[in-house]
């Protein structure tokens, strides 16, 4: 039996995710869309916190909310006049998109419900990971060590830095 606070918390997060997700894709002002995305990402970070993955939640906030959304905002400001509104969608386009989304969600939902004997699983034990434990795993070469992907990502990031500079440079 979960604590009431936890359940309450869950509902707030789930509601925020659903509402802000929908708003993100329906608002006609692009800057607002980015802001709603930020809220979705915050809600996700809260979800991670609730599941005791504090480090992951922190990364989610730092990278997504602090980095990516800022990037979005910058590029929006670079490419749009303030207050500009997107054109209204044609109904055909909307229905096409909606049907695709609903069909996809329905298929996944059906799959979840029909095969999900694990759907009723609950959190049974404390899953918190000490931060120094995590650091060791990240730089370990053991069976559950992650040094190789860690290094690969570092190279990828370097490549992205160079690529971003080269692509965005004014010629």
């Amino acid at each position: 039996m979960e604590s009431v606070g936890n359940i309450f918390m869950y509902f707030i997060i789930a509601l925020a995710i659903i509402v802000f997700s929908v708003l993100t894709v329906t608002t006609r002002k692009i800057l607002r869309s980015a802001t709603y995305l930020l809220f979705v990402l915050f809600a996700t970070a809260l979800l991670y916190f609730q599941m005791d993955y504090e480090f992951l939640g922190a990364v989610q906030i730092a990278v997504y909310a602090g980095g990516i959304v800022v990037l979005f905002v910058f590029s929006i400001l670079l490419t749009h006049r303030p207050g500009e509104k997107a054109d209204a969608l044609s109904s055909q386009r909307r229905w096409l998109g909606l049907s695709a989304a609903v069909l996809g969600v329905a298929a996944c939902g059906y799959a979840l419900l029909s095969y999900g004997k694990f759907c009723t699983a609950q959190i049974t034990k404390d899953g918190a990971l000490e931060i120094h434990e995590l650091g060791k795993l990240l730089l370990s070469t053991d069976k559950f060590g992650y040094l190789l992907p860690f290094e690969a990502v570092s190279v990828l990031l370097l490549a992205c830095i160079i690529g971003g500079v080269v692509i965005a440079r004014r010629r």
Binding site: Y53, L56, L71
Partner: protein, 103 residues
Amino acid sequence: MDLTLLMYLIPSLIMFGCGVYGFLTRKNMIAIMISLELMLNSIDINFVVFNRFLFPDQYEGMFFTLFAIAIAAAETAVALAIIINVFRAVKNVDINEITKLKF
């Protein structure tokens, strides 16, 4: 009332549906990128949730998400750089106007 796995997957699924819808209907390339981020985020949640509920002794899902976030950041940076470059060239970010790559 118990908080089950399914209860966490449903918001994630809806988030993914929103991402699909946005991706298919938006004309602005940056908005499309935002929808893409939504989808990616929902997948991240799935990884974490499965990890936490089914295999609490291991951390593969968590680490996978960690790396996915890093890669998503990189991908977004490059994509936005390209979009800005395209904007510089054609003064437009409308996906329907930029069809130079077709045959």
